[in-house]
């Protein structure tokens, strides 16, 4: 009969869950939305390489690179954060906000690569023979 007493206590004790969108406060280590700091990013693209759910995409060219993030694809595993040696990627310690339109929370940032220093033109080789 212990189970009936337990059920009665459960019934009288009220609910410990909350109705969506109310959510319990997030703990310190909670893995929420991925945040990106283009000032620190070195453009290595390891985050996209480590993202197995294709939440992060990285397109690079000689002059610029584009970092894009789709929270709809993200599983909040945190592997991108672990792999970012420059610490340009962090995660919010809060659950993602509600959104009503597709791709509403998507992020994309394009950074221009610093131009390489101009190459010195090799000096003209000294003439070895006289022109005929």
């Amino acid at each position: 009969m212990n189970i009936l007493r337990l059920l009665l206590n459960n019934f009288l004790g009220g609910s410990i869950t909350t109705r969506f969108p109310n959510r319990p406060p997030a703990d310190k280590g909670f893995r929420g939305l991925v945040r990106y700091d283009p000032q620190i990013c070195t453009g290595c693209g390891v985050c996209a390489y480590r993202c197995s759910s294709r939440g992060i995409s990285f397109r690079s060219s000689r002059t610029a690179y584009t970092w894009a993030y789709d929270p709809g694809q993200c599983t909040y595993c945190g592997r991108c954060v672990d792999g970012c040696e420059a610490h340009a990627i962090t995660q919010e310690a809060a659950p993602p906000p509600l959104y009503y339109k597709r791709d509403e929370l998507n992020l994309a940032h394009t950074t221009q690569r610093p131009l390489p220093p101009p190459k010195k033109k090799p000096e003209a080789a000294p003439a070895t023979g006289e022109a005929k």
Binding site: I3, L4, L7, F11, S15, I16, T17
Partner: protein, 304 residues
């Protein structure tokens, strides 16, 4: 009861028009009560209806051949059988009925179970076939108790008419029969402790594993209507006869909800039995109730 009345009762009241909202309401009561017993909030009031609408809008993968046709057919038949069973219930006193409608109600209550078995095998899924074979074994076991209980009640009142049973006074034999029916209802409705048919931790959804979209929505609706019909049968048997139709209708609903709550508490308080234990339980109960049923039939014969 002529054909028009029968059709009206099946399609309008207490058939599909009453049974569908009642089915969603009963499903909500069961889920909400279960949540309250587990310290959860539970679903909002309209959730079973929203689930139905959402499932109706989903695409169903194309299925070729006779197997695909049968998979489409079973849920429709299950809804029709459940609606027919609800349509037979004497929700309002003196609303019709015919001698022997209890037998028809029993057969209609049994049909969804058979369709579930057929659906699982039609799907050709491993989990579906496992669930179907479990349902078949369980059905053979609990139906002995169920039918004996009904026969015992009907024989004690000298009638197989639902209307006459609803209007007659209770007797100790009748209460025993109601107890036996209540023992069988968790198995009939796939609830703990007899939920081996759709044991989600072992065989996913059992016979329903391959179902989706509007077909699954119809199964859910049929399941809800089974709730209404099965709890309504108990409510019919235990409700005292009332002359006022509104009072009688309200009492019918209140008693049905009470039965849902009792079944939910039993489900929350028990764990799932294995198929062996379930069958053993029912066959042991069957012995007692079979003797009870047969003795009451003999008693009726002697009196006649």
């Amino acid at each position: 009861m002529n054909a028009t009345t029968a059709l009206l009762r099946m399609l309008v009241f207490p058939g599909i028009l009453f049974a569908a909202p009642a089915a969603w309401f009963f499903l909500w009561i069961e889920r909400k009560a279960m949540a309250a017993l587990q310290q959860r909030i539970g679903p909002p009031f309209m959730q079973p209806f929203f689930d139905f609408v959402k499932l109706m809008g989903k695409q169903v993968p194309p299925r070729e051949g006779l197997g695909g046709f049968l998979m489409k057919l079973w849920p429709v038949l299950a809804v029709a059988a459940s609606a027919g069973a609800v349509g037979l219930l004497p929700v309002i006193p003196r609303s019709g009925g015919f001698p022997g409608d209890l037998v028809l109600l029993l057969s209609l209550l049994e049909l969804p179970s058979m369709f579930i078995i057929a659906a699982g095998f039609s799907s050709r899924s491993l989990w579906g076939e496992l669930g179907s074979s479990r349902e078949a074994i369980l059905s053979v076991s609990y139906n002995v108790v169920f039918l004996m209980a009904i026969i015992g009640i009907a024989a004690s009142q000298h009638t197989f008419s639902l209307q006459a049973l609803a209007q007659s006074q209770g007797s100790p034999l009748r209460w025993l029969g109601v107890l036996a029916i209540l023992i069988c209802l968790p198995a009939k409705l796939h609830m703990n402790p007899f939920s081996v048919t759709n044991a989600e931790q072992e065989i996913y959804a059992g016979p329903m594993t391959e179902y989706t979209g509007h077909e699954l929505a119809l199964w859910e609706l049929a399941h809800g209507m089974e709730w209404v019909a099965a709890t309504g049968l108990v409510a019919t048997l235990i409700a005292p006869p009332l002359a006022n139709p509104w009072m009688a209708g309200a009492l019918f609903v209140v008693l049905s909800v009470a039965v849902v709550l009792v079944l939910t508490i039993v489900a929350a308080a028990t764990a799932r039995l294995t198929i062996d234990d379930s069958v053993r339980f029912f066959w042991r109960c069957a012995l007692a109730f079979a003797v009870l049923g047969v003795s009451s039939v003999l008693l009726m014969r002697i009196k006649l």
